[in-house]
Symmetry: C2
Subunit: 129 residues, 2 copies
Amino acid sequence: MSVARVGPLKLKAQIFCGDEPAIGPGKADLLEAIDCEGSISAAGRALGMSYRRTWLLVDSMNRCWVERLVETIAGGSRDRGARLTDTGRAVLAAYRLLERRMVDAAAGDGLDPLTALLRDAPLPPATAT
Amino acid sequence: MSVARVGPLKLKAQIFCGDEPAIGPGKADLLEAIDCEGSISAAGRALGMSYRRTWLLVDSMNRCWVERLVETIAGGSRDRGARLTDTGRAVLAAYRLLERRMVDAAAGDGLDPLTALLRDAPLPPATAT
């Protein structure tokens, strides 16, 4: 799951291939779920996504990198096995490291001036005019 | 405008006050537009947002920080002047610096392993099953 929160900061990092997000928080979570579940459809269920949406995200990732990130293992059903390729593992690890570097760069001096000015909770909304 | 792009990387950093985004790329752009235009409604128009949406974003920012970020200058019309408070300037500057630190941390060693594996353009989508 996403590592990209520190205190009040939430980070979303996306790597684009042309106009298409090649990896971001959701796709990284999906790669981890496929690695854990050994199946694309089980990974989608674990993340609460439809099979079609899951499949589209996998297809998108498989088209944006020099090699596919996810490969299915021989068999015929939707629940047949799937696994990350070496490139899939490399992209996932590099993305998580990138997130970590950015979060680490934000922590402390970068975030403190904002945290110091932030309320604990928002005031109630004003009445709309 | 947003500084949070470097090569194929797009960064979205949000600071939350409870469940409410207290600042992020859109609100930072709005603060800059208000500073530039001297008016909330003119700033919204410059960014292609409705007056209502612009007003809601300003109200949200004004409720999340220890002091309001935007103040209106005496007068009665929608186009009366508005300006950033000292806190507004401090939050905007600290947020842009935070983005810059995160982007700088991503550049080079962090991003190169991903860029090396990224296609120049995605392959065409597979036929949906």
